[in-house]
């Protein structure tokens, strides 16, 4: 390139980057978002290790390692860039582990991870293209394949020994005491039996809130999950409307339709608090129904999605064969997401009727 004679004698840059505008970015990235979501799950994950001991840790590590390894293997085989470091496979593994019971046979988490990453994510084309939430596909897959193992729930150690120190002391312990989950008891033996098993209603709420109950890894510590979820809301990684609508829907309908007296339905006698705090609703509402890839694009669409999730959850819990239902409700709504996106989108600028002219 010819240069011009000018009086200026500054050093010209040797090379300049040419791209089209814009030239600045808000520095958010997929990798950053994924790792931060991982971090917000960490407190609940640590709690589950205290609560269920070493078996929980092993389940978790198997899921994470399984997911990451599966992603790496597939990408290596497809000769595309290996993107394990973006944290999305780790997140899938972690969320998957949160849906499994502690101490389940080692091959179950491994198979679930392969189903999650291999089937749900990479057969669809990888991150961004999957229709279904990978972690929930993994869980549904092993739920169908190993129904007994998947419903043999570890019982909370804190709950049993009634103290943290005791549970901490036993963290390295391999034994798993199994038992039913609160919603399992509710389904099979009824509400009164459930309350009795905790020794009173307020004791039950407290146990559920803090996490002193049996269940999957991520079902138990509502408070830590909510705190993690709040961080995501504050960081604007998720929209508050989604968890609020989903949890609200479940609460409303279980309150209206969830109460039975002598085996007969009596309206407005259900126990919404029980339903909110158990069966993985919190983790589902904050971490799964807010998954960016598999939920609608617009806020209105997401609200509809969350409402659908809540509704289906209640239908399954009250009338279906499974005690919980968050997993299937989210998967079903995932399938409806393209449809929602087709009908709910913003009206373009300038298409609104002209407002009354101000004078």
């Amino acid at each position: 390139m010819e240069t011009k004679e000018t009086t200026a004698n500054i050093q010209k840059p040797e090379k300049l980057v040419i791209t089209s505008s814009p030239h600045v970015h808000n520095t958010e990235s997929v990798t950053k978002i994924m790792w931060i979501v991982n971090l917000t799950l960490l407190p609940a994950a640590i709690f589950s290790v205290i609560n269920f001991g070493l078996p929980a840790l092993i389940t978790m590590l198997l899921c994470i390692a399984g997911s990451a390894a599966c992603e790496a293997a597939i990408q290596y085989w497809r000769k595309v860039k290996v993107t394990v470091s973006d944290g999305s496979a780790v997140l899938t593994g972690l969320l998957l582990a949160m849906c499994l019971p502690a101490g389940i046979a080692w091959y179950v988490p491994v198979i679930a991870s392969v189903a999650a990453i291999g089937i749900a994510k990479h057969t669809m084309g990888g991150l961004g293209h999957n229709v279904f939430n990978p972690a929930h596909i993994g869980r549904a897959f092993v739920m169908a394949s190993y129904p007994v193992a998947m419903t043999t729930w570890a019982v909370s150690r804190i709950g049993n020994s009634a103290d943290f120190a005791g549970a901490m002391g036993k963290v390295a312990d391999f034994d798993v005491v199994t038992g039913a989950t609160p919603l399992g008891i509710l389904k099979q033996q009824g509400y009164q039996a459930l309350v009795d098993s905790f020794g009173g209603q307020s004791a039950m709420y407290k146990a559920l809130f803090i996490g002193n109950t049996g269940g999957s890894l991520g079902e138990t510590s509502a408070i830590l999950l909510i705190l993690g979820g709040l961080v995501l809301v504050i960081k604007k990684y998720i929209k508050w409307q989604v968890p609020v609508v989903m949890i609200g829907t479940v609460a409303l309908f279980t309150w209206i339709f969830g109460g039975k007296v002598d085996g007969k339905l009596v309206y407005f006698t259900g126990d919404p608090v029980l339903h909110i705090l158990s069966g993985g609703l919190i983790i589902g509402a904050f971490f799964m129904a807010t998954d960016m890839v598999t939920t609608p694009l617009t806020t209105q669409g997401q609200v509809l999605f969350a409402f659908g999730c809540g509704l289906i959850t209640v239908l399954i819990r009250l009338y279906g064969g499974y005690p919980e239902g968050v997993c299937y409700s989210i998967l079903l709504m995932n399938a409806l997401t393209p449809l929602i996106d087709r009908y709910i989108f913003p009206k373009k600028f300038g298409s609104l009727p002209e407002p009354v002219t101000r004078s």
Partner: protein
């Protein structure tokens, strides 16, 4: 009352380094490379030849079809050549090269001293045309055309766009502070030309000094100063109208379709200078800034001044440069070299440091919806980018409102997958334009 828009983003405004700096005057450069293509439309044609002596303000290029704007000599000296030199927007483009004689002498009999109040609208439009005034916010649309709307469009409001929502730029701000009277006068002139009774000046609320100064100057006139929320792209024409009048310009239409005209601050000062003193548009305020610029400045630079001169005036660079941008970082044009020159549309020159340049790999859309939330035109940017990627440019236009995109860049700004959506959109628009042309020529 603070006026807000929906959507948009809050980039770091970076205006601190220049917003308190008085507009400096650049020492006269030895050579000026005045492009003859300085407005949207057909380039003008040079009316001088190598060897001619020119005076400051003398006509050097004229519009061939009468729709474009003329170009004037920014200083006195000798035309050494008419040749192709780097233009900040159009690659290499014909320039009149003028070697300055160091005297900076006005053409004799050019300057006048008249009052706008005695001139008629038609006279003033002619003056504006003859003095080569264009939209100085970046679009460079000929002002005389903007001020001559078709008879059937009734315009009742003038909006002065003083938002300056692009990060880094402070040229409009400084113009308001230092030439407040001229800006107001320009506003009154344009209001008279258009025959409108109501004028608004929209200023973002991160410029409180400009707001209070303008409020004071507007007292007793039919001009109202409106405080706008600081948000990009508040200065986009359609957003401005939405925020101030709560009217949405229909898709594919112009501000005049809602009875509105929008003028940039810089252009209004130029209008005032032209109408009262007959000064053609030969110089403008340019913000030269960026992390690698030693002493960022606002400077009154002559059209045709090479960027090198400006950076030299700033004391050169510190650290390695990544990009040089003409205009702001959201919509500006990355420059191939520092040889490009100041044109009428150069509101600023921004350097982006080597380590600020973000060339992260683009990933697949993860459907996060952020781009939709920020798109002020309420489009589906992610869908547009995917359609463009797949080559379905027609679908993008017919089903997803491709042509409504104003290329503001908010969608890219927030995309965690770093998808350069705007680039995809431009590609689709270009492909469709090519197709249209092909059909047109094919059917002839």
């Amino acid at each position: 009352m603070l006026r807000r828009i929906k959507g948009g983003v809050h980039p770091h405004d970076e205006k601190k380094s220049t917003d308190d700096k008085k507009i400096a005057v650049l020492p006269l450069p030895k050579k000026l490379f005045v492009p003859v293509h300085q407005h949207i439309g057909q380039p003008s044609v040079p009316v001088v030849k190598a060897g001619d002596e020119v005076k400051k303000g003398q006509l050097i290029a004229e519009s061939a079809d009468g729709r474009g704007t003329p170009v004037h000599s920014p200083t006195s000296g000798k035309v050494t050549e008419i040749g192709n030199y780097p233009h900040p927007l159009y690659g290499k483009s014909p320039c009149v090269v003028i070697e300055s004689d160091g005297l900076d002498q006005w053409q004799e009999g050019l300057l006048t001293d008249r009052s706008w109040e005695v001139l008629s609208a038609a006279e003033m439009i002619d003056i504006i045309f003859k003095n080569g005034i264009v939209g100085m916010g970046g679009a460079a649309f000929p002002t005389h055309i903007k001020l001559s709307p078709p008879k059937d469009k009734k315009i009742d409001t003038l909006i002065v766009n003083a938002a300056e929502c692009e990060p880094y730029l402070t040229s409009d701000y400084r113009t308001m502070i230092e030439y407040a009277d001229d800006v107001i006068k320009g506003t009154q002139i344009v209001m008279k030309i258009l025959g409108v009774q109501k004028g608004f000046i929209g200023i973002e609320n991160n410029k409180p000094k400009a707001i209070s100064l303008m409020k004071e100057k507007c007292k007793g006139k039919k001009i109202e100063v409106v405080e706008l929320e600081t948000k990009y792209p508040q200065g986009a024409e359609k957003m401005m109208i939405k925020a101030i009048l709560d009217k949405e310009v229909p898709s594919g239409k112009l501000p005049m379709d809602v009875g509105c005209a929008v003028q940039n601050v810089g252009s209004l000062k130029a209008v005032a200078d032209a109408v009262e003193k007959n000064i053609p548009l030969i110089e403008r305020v340019v913000t030269v800034t960026g992390r690698t610029v030693k002493n960022p400045v606002n400077v009154m630079a002559k059209v045709g001044t090479p960027f090198t001169e400006l950076f030299d005036f700033c004391g050169g660079f510190r650290g390695a440069n990544g990009k040089i941008i003409m205009g702001g970082p959201m919509m500006g044009m990355a420059q191939v070299s520092l040889d490009a020159v100041v044109v009428k549309a150069t509101s600023g020159i921004v350097s982006i440091a080597d380590n600020e340049v973000d060339l992260k790999e683009e990933l697949a859309c993860i459907r996060c919806g952020r781009c939709i939330d920020v798109c002020t035109m309420r489009l589906l940017p992610n869908v547009l980018s995917i359609l463009s990627e797949k080559g379905q440019h027609q679908t993008a236009q017919t089903d997803y409102n491709l042509m409504d995109c104003v290329e503001c860049g908010c969608c890219y700004y927030v995309c965690p997958s770093r998808r350069n959506i705007v680039h995809y959109i431009r590609q689709s628009k270009a492909k469709n334009a090519m197709l249209r042309n092909a059909i047109k020529t094919g059917s002839k």
